[in-house]
Amino acid sequence: MATETLTLGKALNTGLRRALENDPKVVIMGEDVGKLGGVFRITDGLQKDFGDQRVIDTPLAESGIIGTAVGLAIRGFRPVCEIQFDGFVYPAYDQIVSQVAKMHYRSQGKVRIPMVIRIPFGGGIGAVEHHSESPEAYFAHTAGLKVVSCANPQDAYVMIQQAIASDDPIVFLEPKRRYWEKGPVDLEAPIADAYPLHSARVARSGTDATVLAYGPMVRTALDAATAAAEDGRELEVIDLRTLSPLDLTAAYESVRRTGRCVVVHEAPGNLGLGSEIAARITEECFYSLESPVLRVTGFDTPYPAARVEEEYLPDLDRVLDAVDRTFGW
């Protein structure tokens, strides 16, 4: 097994390179994705090796990126669009929600839009406003889109290739503050045999409470589990990976064992993914629950100024606090 240690960002870069190699119809497009290699360097070196017809620096207009990608998809291409930051996706919102998401439905299956919309999302990097948002609920709420998020380099490498190979339009959320975290990546295992894209996975087994997280919060949840273990409490951490459709099979099984569940995300709590997840777990695991499903989320404020983002973002202590509350019910 050819395992290499890569950062999450480099794993994405390597996955994109593989996708470009494997299918001549794959094109990458976005602002600064060419020569610069993207502001986070996720597309570093790709234009140099694949040319400016495959890795396209676009004009600076997000609706234009997604709208032209729709046309390219109708033509038979597989566009991989980069939105530079979460807070800049909104000009493209109409194209994503009204066009990308509905084309297959409206055409009764005759038009496929095999598009991947990559969005670096979430906070924790000390950025100015509009650079730290978590817009996943907007997309997960939209029928016709699928939404996934990777949390570690191995998944980043595999999931980006799976998303590109899928004929579904997929919003691919990248945990930008984890871009620099390193982990082992198996570069040789065939993607066809990989763990399915739209499946959650247990990231750490435990018996006392279940913590559900995705994207940047998986690391936070795992750190919380490590800390809890020192206090003699074993948390099971599930990396949801797919936000639409949700895959809660493992979560149901886990909560039926533990009787306690905490959902963690950076996005505001009100009508966030956690609300839907809590409702479903309550429906499916009602008689097993020892306490209500609790949510640890960002607050219902705009994303705050960077100097207070640490207090805004769920962290290890807030996760453990919620776990404690499930025991005190």
Partner: protein, 392 residues
């Protein structure tokens, strides 16, 4: 209607005899080859000196007339069907037949069209059964056709969104190496005067320009965006917007099927030859309501409509055919009869359209499906079945 290349245009700075130079007459700056009175103008110059002319055979002239009449009659039938409750809505093209037939017939087989929701005439000229979009307006589907099969995309209701799709598709044509010759592919994007205010349309201008996309922007300026007149969208003639984006623009008499054909054929051929995008502003008038839900008497006066009535695209073509003895009364009667027969046929088929089964609302949400949706469908099916045998 097979055509050779009767719309060949040449660039010429020198005005030929009987050549009308756009803007030289004090009239709106538009290319015209057939006056409202049915007089033929041999050629007309565009703002950049391009000379436009057509050289149709008598059979082709008659064919264009037939298209215009058929398209108007089918449109009227659809309006009637809406009034009788058989369609939920209809967006009539009344008054815009020449712009649509002219541009539609200018397309070559390999060209791709991106319509709004009013391009019934273009659809007809693509050889598509006019029943195709009526499912959308009856409410039994949302389009449901394959753009690549018909080289005609699904109707787009969100104003201007399709111009970006057309631009991306045209970029793809260039990336596929399908430009640069007679057999090259070109793309046409339809939109209206209101759409020119949309960000998407302006973004598509930028994209098409910088990527030199083989694309013709075909703006039917029908003077109104529902109730809002052109002056609410622009302070300059729309075709001049093109200059700011770096490609040519031309205004054509959109009620003149010959000129509409000539400028569109020229622009498409430029695009397919690798010369990039251009903008055509087809200056016309929406004679009817925006849609059947609209009441234009609230925002425009009858005399304005009457003035445009005098520029009717079909009347001028009929006058021309009559004067030139290209067609006689028996031809006109035969065309009217064909239009009547086809509209009756259309009506019968609309009335026979079945409502979809409710459970089909779950179909085709995703190419690869979704377990969540499968579960919802199963529950819904079970719920519906619980009524079976009951009085409800």
């Amino acid at each position: 209607m097979a055509k050779g290349d009767p719309g060949a245009a040449t660039r010429s700075k020198r005005a030929a005899p009987r050549t009308r130079r756009a803007a030289a007459t004090g009239e709106p700056e538009l290319v015209q080859l057939l006056t409202p009175e049915g007089e033929r103008i041999e050629s007309a110059l565009g703002p950049d000196g391009t000379e436009y002319r057509v050289d149709f055979t008598d059979e082709e002239y008659r064919g264009l007339y037939r298209d215009l009449v058929l398209v108007r009659k089918l449109d009227a039938e659809a309006t009637a069907l809406q009034r009788q409750g058989e369609l939920g809505l209809w967006a009539s093209l009344l008054g815009q037949e020449a712009a649509q037939v002219g541009s539609g017939r200018a397309l070559r087989t390999q060209d791709m069209a991106f319509p709004t929701y009013r391009e019934h005439g273009v659809l007809y000229c693509r050889g598509i059964d006019p029943i195709m979009p009526l499912g959308l307006f009856r409410g039994v589907d949302q389009g449901g056709w394959d753009p690549n099969e018909f080289k005609f995309n699904m109707y787009t209701i969100v104003i201007g969104a399709q111009t970006l799709h057309a631009t991306g598709y045209a970029m793809g044509v260039a990336m596929d190496g399908k430009t640069g010759g007679e057999d090259g592919e070109a793309v046409i994007a339809y939109f209206g005067d209101g759409a020119t205010s949309q960000g998407d349309v302006n973004e598509s201008f930028v994209w098409a320009s910088v990527f030199n996309a083989p694309l013709v922007f075909f703006c039917q300026n029908n003077q109104y965006a529902i109730s809002e007149p052109l002056e609410r969208q622009t302070r300059v003639p729309l075709y001049r917007r093109a200059g700011g984006f770096g490609f040519p623009g031309v205004r054509v008499d959109g009620n003149d099927v010959l000129a509409s054909y000539a400028v569109t054929r020229h622009a498409l051929d430029n695009a397919r030859n690798g010369q990039g995008p251009s903008l055509i502003e087809a200056y016309t008038y929406r004679m009817g309501a925006h849609t059947t839900s609209d009441d234009p008497t609230r925002y425009r006066i009858a005399s304005e409509v009457e003035a445009w009535q005098a520029k009717d695209p079909i009347a001028r073509m009929k006058a021309f055919l009559t004067k030139q003895k290209i067609a006689d009364e028996s031809f006109f009667t035969e065309v009217d009869e064909q239009a009547r027969t086809e509209s009756v046929h259309l009506r019968e088929r609309v009335l026979a359209m079945p409502d979809p089964q409710p459970v089909t609302m779950f179909d085709h949400v995703y190419p690869n499906g979704s377990p969540e949706l499968d579960e919802q469908r199963a529950r819904f099916t079970q719920y519906m079945e619980s009524f079976e045998g009951s009085a409800h």
